[in-house]
Point group: C2
Chain length 401, copies 2
């Protein structure tokens, strides 16, 4: 098999950890696999470099930030390759450029345009382990770029896609994806397999193992993604396409998002353009509106409700007040969003009904509802968040194997 492994910051956080990673890489090699390893900077290094830059400027020039921040991953790649060579396994360190990662020129959050795999393929064919500095690439004309948050995962997925690798293993410090946050429900189970779409919906689930960008890219490139724990030998969770999951459970997981606030406009005159105007303004200011509900009201007016991230509420409030419309405005940050995610929903009826009756039995009032093909999200009072998760987890039998 050809396997791409990616090790995150805590997995390579110390010299001893890098040695442990080397041993794990060697085990995989010994099993007869070919390997490309993608590494992050040692944990703390990137933050240190950011602090250095901030000593000089609150708004450091972005091309220079890329030159600065790309140094950390290069150090780790060199050290891991040195360790592998010392253990007798041929290995070469590669910068993003050497691995052929070509990006656009959007410094500090560049997008991968394509990968020139010539050198990577030569290296693999030679039986050598390629150790690639993650998070970075160069533009067509050779400027250094970085890929933004979660960039090393993205490097790994993109390389796995370009090489048509059999597997892309993302090593972090958690075991995988769970049916819900184990800190809320100790009976939460680790999922063996999950579809790309479910993973995308569950991204806000407790342990943020993967960023949506990486999952989206894996889906697009059809990369079999596995999240594993570099601190143990557990099997992790496979994120793959729906067809690869034989028995699709109706519900895969329950997610709780505490970073929600609601804005309600009462007495909105029921004519076109009002809502459009509001959401245009919010979008212009980069406020992320999530759920939107409009109820039919009486006497020609309606009520309009929507949610925004809690940490953007103050800014959203300011924008709403600047609009100086005649509606009555209400703000509520004492809410949470509980979501039920599962591809099985598509072919099963009654999934939503079970959720509503389960919460009703606990006397939890559902204030807003929004559904997609594979997700049901409900806004409830914040104080019921954990209770709702535990009750729903049980109702959908997620605590059973």
């Amino acid at each position: 098999m050809l396997i791409v492994q990616k090790y995150g910051g805590t997995s390579v956080g110390t010299l001893d950890r890098i040695k442990a990673v080397a041993q794990r890489v060697i085990e995989t090699k010994k099993e007869g696999n070919n390997l490309v390893v993608v590494v992050s900077a040692m944990s703390g290094e990137t933050n240190k470099l950011i602090e250095y830059a901030e000593f000089f400027s609150k708004t450091p020039s972005q091309a220079e930030m890329d030159m600065l921040l790309s140094a950390g991953e290069r150090v780790t790649s060199a050290l891991l390759a040195i360790a592998l060579n010392e253990f007798g396994y041929k290995s070469v360190a590669m910068s993003g450029r050497q691995a052929g990662i070509i990006t656009d020129s959007l410094h500090t959050k560049a997008h991968i345009d394509h990968i020139d795999t010539t050198y990577l393929k030569e290296t693999i064919e030679d039986g050598t382990i390629a150790v690639v500095a993650g998070f970075q690439g160069t533009t067509k004309d050779g400027k250094v770029t970085t890929l933004g948050r979660g960039g090393s995962d993205l490097s790994a997925v993109a390389i796995a896609g370009a090489l048509e690798a059999d597997l892309c293993e993302i090593f972090t410090d958690v075991d995988g994806v769970y049916t819900t946050d184990p800190r809320i429900e100790p009976k939460a189970k680790k999922l063996e397999k999950i579809s790309y779409d479910e993973m995308l919906e569950l991204a806000s689930l407790g342990a943020k193992v993967l960023q949506n960008r990486s999952v989206e890219l894996a889906k697009k490139l059809n990369v079999n993604l596995v999240t594993r724990n570099s601190f143990n030998n557990n099997t992790g969770t496979l994120i793959t396409k729906e067809e690869n999951i034989m028995e699709q459970p109706i519900v895969s997981g329950i997610a709780l998002d505490k970073n929600q606030a609601r804005i309600t406009l009462r007495g909105v005159v029921d004519k076109p353009g009002i809502a459009a105007n509001i959401f245009k303004k919010l979008a212009e200011n980069n406020i992320n509106v999530d759920m939107i509900i409009q109820n039919v009201g009486v006497d020609g007016t309606t009520n309009l409700g929507f949610t925004v991230p809690q940490n953007e509420l103050a800014f959203a409030k300011k924008i709403m007040e600047e609009l100086q419309s005649s509606e009555k405005l209400e703000y509520n940050s004492e809410i949470v969003k509980v979501s039920i995610v599962g591809v099985g929903m598509k072919s099963h009826s009654g999934v939503a009904a079970l959720a509503f009756s389960t919460l009703a039995n606990e006397n939890i009032n559902i204030e807003m509802i929004s559904t997609s093909e594979i997700k049901i999200s409900m806004i409830i009072h914040a104080k019921y968040g954990e209770l709702a998760v535990r009750t729903l987890h049980k109702a959908y039998k997620l605590d059973k194997n």
Copy 2:
């Protein structure tokens, strides 16, 4: 003017120091100059990275060492460019590769093959300050290389040569080149100008401001080199070609080399090939033989004496004993080499005679003598080293302005 400035590790050793360097660069820019700045890693960084590598291997793979060690200079170049941009002076950070430095593939001690100055020239013409990560380049096929000890000086000199810069200023933590080590002779004067050849001979002088590789390259490329102190505004020492120095002093400086040991073979049979065999063996083992003296002896035998660096004496001794020749071997590490350097010697007679009589007056016995066009070196007993330096310094009137 087009000026290349190079700042060494202590000059950029802290964030505050980097800010001070930014201000000095801006002063130079304000005077109407165009600038390329070459920087070293922050002091301590390179050693830290070497220690990291040694954690994994006593003989780390060299291509990976280059990937590792090149990270430090990249960080400094990014930080200085960020600082300059913040002060309102357009600046871009460049890796060795981006600056167009193409080397051979001798990892960890690569030689610069040529510099593709396209991007550097574009940057300068745009009025932008280029901040280049020193000490590094890439091979023709894009592998990262480093240039070995003193590599950042070399980067600066090579860039100055390729751009035909008017001046290449090397900033360190000393004021320049002195007539002798000021710790031995407090009356030592800083030299205003010195020729390349004198500088090469004086390289072993107290304050090792420049490595011979850089001076040799400056001579070859006809680069006007200035060594200056980044911690003050003193003028430094100009190292230039002989023709540029109007009044050539007979003697420019006195150097003391304490790292000397002597090996003497007594009763060498006076036939061809004996000495050749000895020095071939030493060369094969990378022992640096410095001075060699052979005296005519009596009864068909001669005495052969030569010096080696003190820290290589034990190894040299082992090799000599393995040769198992019939000569009587003597070892002496209680010696030093005192050298008098000056281009004026070429056209003045009596320079050596003054040295011999000066030491004779102090009852210092000269054990070996070797001369070149611009240098007289003498081996004396170690205990007289400092006295010899001070006496000669006065005899050649180097303490007078």
